[in-house]
Subunit: 130 residues, 2 copies
């Protein structure tokens, strides 16, 4: 299953994973969800809350997999994982200010990746000078 996720640039839903893994003997959703739970606990996979979907971790050799963020292209579906201490520390500081003890952070930015931005420019011709 991890192989399948690693091959994908986009995220996959649990049921898509199930369908892809049927040839390998997966038959029921629970098999997928249980496998995903383990992979997530071990830091090999992340869940995208805003998409109800799953994606392989981009740096599984790291330590803390609870403080990770994602840029999600709404046009092509590509996911860019990033791990920014400045952003995370900023959030933590803000939480301290309201005396909230953070345990995990869901940070997902929806928008348009550079490739799709370029595709739109090309398609529409862009804006010409004067």
């Amino acid at each position: 299953m991890l192989n399948l996720l690693l091959q994908e640039k986009k995220s996959l839903s649990a049921y898509t994973i199930l369908d892809r893994l049927r040839p390998q003997g997966f038959r029921a959703p629970l098999q997928v969800y249980r496998a995903l739970d383990k992979l997530i606990k071990r830091g090999f996979v992340h869940r995208l809350a805003s998409m109800n979907a799953f994606i392989a971790c981009s740096h599984p050799w790291g330590e803390d997999h609870t403080l990770v963020a994602f840029a999600i292209c709404k046009t092509c579906g590509s996911i860019t994982e990033f791990d920014d201490e400045a952003v995370i520390n900023n959030i933590k500081k803000r939480m301290q200010a309201i005396l909230f003890r953070p345990q995990s952070i869901t940070l997902e930015i929806q928008g348009m990746c550079i490739l799709c931005q370029h595709a739109v420019q090309t398609y529409s011709g862009g804006r010409r000078p004067g």
Copy 2:
């Protein structure tokens, strides 16, 4: 519906909303989802992606309701909405660095609110000196 959400400190699922509004004539999920969509578009309600639930906006008089964050207490379910320019600008700056054009941000911090932290202290007796 907005009244119902405004009265709640916790978030409500669409189906909980449906049940609560049955006396007022709501009968089908779509009625709820359609009403929620409108309220969200108008900035009166937010959707919590990590909970599949909905909550009234804390400052509906504001302008931009796409850049808002939530501290979610996993113990009592209370939700604290906050709107921090520093955090948001930090994220935007980071997105610029990878040439990603952000359109909306999902930022939800799961953890424990100050009241529940205090409750735990009281319950367990806390740590005594020397």
